[in-house]
Subunit: 388 residues, 2 copies
């Protein structure tokens, strides 16, 4: 089986020449007569240029097929091969990576497993983020969680910048929140997932993930790009980590935002996360006012779902976005709201209720026009944020 990669070059680049440079330079390299006796073996490691075209706008696309034997069935060695040295060679962007189906890891739980743990099968899941991001005590976290959990929230996560700080130790936060989760379970029968941010140097991070799971963490959050795909894969293939891993896209823009350099969002947050073993992946949605291409978002969604990974569009998500998000995503989506829940004019609990009202209203085919809305949490949200 082979690995196919599409590289896009801006106008003025000799794409045909560059494609050959990649096919040789990112694999075996060149060799001379001294290695003639190894000719066959060396050739078996070379990549091949299998396609190319130049579009009317002057951009060119080259497709290169790499032997799977050159890599280690993981994302890190894949990245080294397809764009390691070549990323430094000039303007070029990796816009698609097609991997063999078996390549890398599968999620341990994914869409079906997360739904089972929550016992919610027939609607999108609603997710919130602790806010403010820094400066709260473990007790503050527990108080916030209590409010939103009883209002019906499915999942909450740490802010990605909330690490294991002296002033806010991760384990304390988990212990305080775990009590609320147990209490909610006892009183309502409902499970609420709390994705705890797991951080540290790779060795300590893995140890801490074990500790957190032992201490009752029922989900983990990982900043995959600042810690490394090798850490995601380590957690994903670790039998002791029997909870879903939520992958956060922090730093993705450094690699993906430039039009002519780096790697497409759909590759990093779609293909690579899906084959890296994440159970759910957060990524920028086009609902806010940030510069995201809806076509890239659709590609991410489809790459993730093709491996049973939960898509978690984020940014600009508030109750008034629900009709549009359901149109774009259907049921298999986690709607992740930060301010869209925590900054509801009445309370975070009202923010959660507004989402469930919105889901129900879409289900009943009812309008979101302000004048048709009853006096409710949803109406208050729509007054503040409008409807998408």
């Amino acid at each position: 089986m082979s690995i196919e990669v599409d590289y896009r070059f801006p106008p003025g680049v000799d794409a045909e020449r560059q494609a050959k440079v990649i096919a040789v330079g990112q694999t075996a390299g060149t060799w001379d007569a001294r290695f003639a006796h190894h000719e066959e073996k060396l050739r078996s490691h070379l990549a091949e240029v299998v396609g190319g075209r130049t579009d009317p706008d002057g951009y060119s696309l080259a497709t290169i097929s790499f032997p799977e034997t050159n890599v280690e069935n993981d994302i890190s060695s894949l990245l080294t091969m397809i764009f390691g040295k070549y990323s430094m060679a000039g303007a070029a962007k990796v816009v698609a990576v097609r991997l063999p189906e078996h390549y890398g890891s599968y999620p341990k739980l994914g869409i079906t497993g997360i739904r089972e743990r929550l016992a919610v099968v027939d609607r999108p899941l609603i997710m919130a983020i602790f806010k403010p991001a820094l400066g709260l005590s473990a007790e503050d976290h527990a108080a916030i969680l209590k409010e939103v959990a009883y209002a019906g929230l499915d999942i909450i996560k740490d802010d990605e910048i909330m690490g294991d700080l002296e002033v806010a130790p991760t384990l304390k936060r988990l212990e305080a929140c775990r009590q609320i989760i147990d209490e909610v379970k006892q009183q309502t029968g409902r499970t609420v997932l709390y994705a705890v941010n797991v951080t540290g140097t790779a060795d300590k991070l893995i140890e801490k993930a074990h500790l957190l799971v032992r201490e009752g963490a029922n989900a983990l959050l990982l900043n995959v790009l600042t810690y490394g795909f090798s850490v995601l894969s380590a957690l994903a293939t670790d039998e002791k980590i029997n909870v879903p891993i939520f992958a956060h896209p922090a730093l993705a823009g450094a690699m993906c935002a430039s039009p002519d350099y780096g790697i497409a969002y759909s590759v990093v947050l779609g293909t690579l996360m899906a084959h890296g073993g994440a159970d759910a992946v957060l990524y920028p949605a086009h609902y806010g006012n940030l510069p995201f291409d809806p076509a890239e978002e659709i590609r991410i969604r489809d790459s993730l779902r093709s491996r049973n990974v939960f898509p978690v569009p984020s940014a600009g998500i508030h109750p008034g976005v629900v009709p549009k998000a359901l149109f774009d995503y259907g049921q298999d989506v986690i709607l992740n709201a930060g301010t869209g829940i925590m900054d509801h004019p009445d309370s975070p609990a009202a923010g959660v209720k507004a989402f469930f009202e919105a889901l129900e209203r879409v289900k009943q085919g009812e309008s979101f026009e302000l004048e048709t809305l009853p006096k409710s949490a949803l109406r208050r949200a729509v007054e503040k944020w409008g409807v998408k």
Copy 2:
């Protein structure tokens, strides 16, 4: 102590506004009256805009000072804080990061430690790369090493894409090369370092690093950006890893090459590697025909040296570059040649000899004009590659 970051924005961006967005959005975020009782604590986590200017070309620079208490004294949490979410917000490039001196890790060996192990104090070190990159057997590696090691080479490294493959297991390669290293030591008294590429998911990679060191590896090579800074830090702070770590820049271009997005090469390959615990860092030099800014190269050199980390300029290094490289770097540099040694017209051993001839010629103040060169390995190299 605080962490200062310079962000550069292209013309048309309201830099003043964006700087405020970063200072708040990448730290505590906003809060409302409910958290008034935490005001002081929340404020202590906020970053501050401490400088800004717009240059005549329309580019703006904003300097933001982040509290050190927000992060975990490592590179991964630092990246999440300074550019996690914001990297996805539009055109902006991190062009400088100023860390407190004690932040992160120091190299275990660095310039002084590597020189001690090699017992070479007064000249640049000469380094080669196994070539072809894939397709050789462990015995082939040993045969190549034998040739260059007896010719006087100081260090050799795996190609960064040479992983732990079924057709070429890392341990076999080490075992075969280790015999040569022992033999050279016995017969000449000289130590030759072999930086073995250490790969795998983070847990396995760390285990493998332990195994390789136990089996006699005297240096490691790590693709820091494809495996993660958290893996570099894990190895750098691991007492069992008592050998130098050579950091490879594979994938750096995906983050650094765009003029208006991502993070500057000097930050990723200079500042972050130097505080991440690498002993020696490879990075693109401006000697070849690749698009690297000599000013960035100088910044990388100085960041690394300021923490006793060996700079390893790579790309376009051949014997004819030695006078220019010595002018730019002086003695504390590792000259890393791929084809510049392995593709010498006579042999890889002649490639190594040509480098030492070149060093001696510079020392004696002798010319590199072709007609002044004796019939020698250096002359053959200069005939092929010229003089920089």
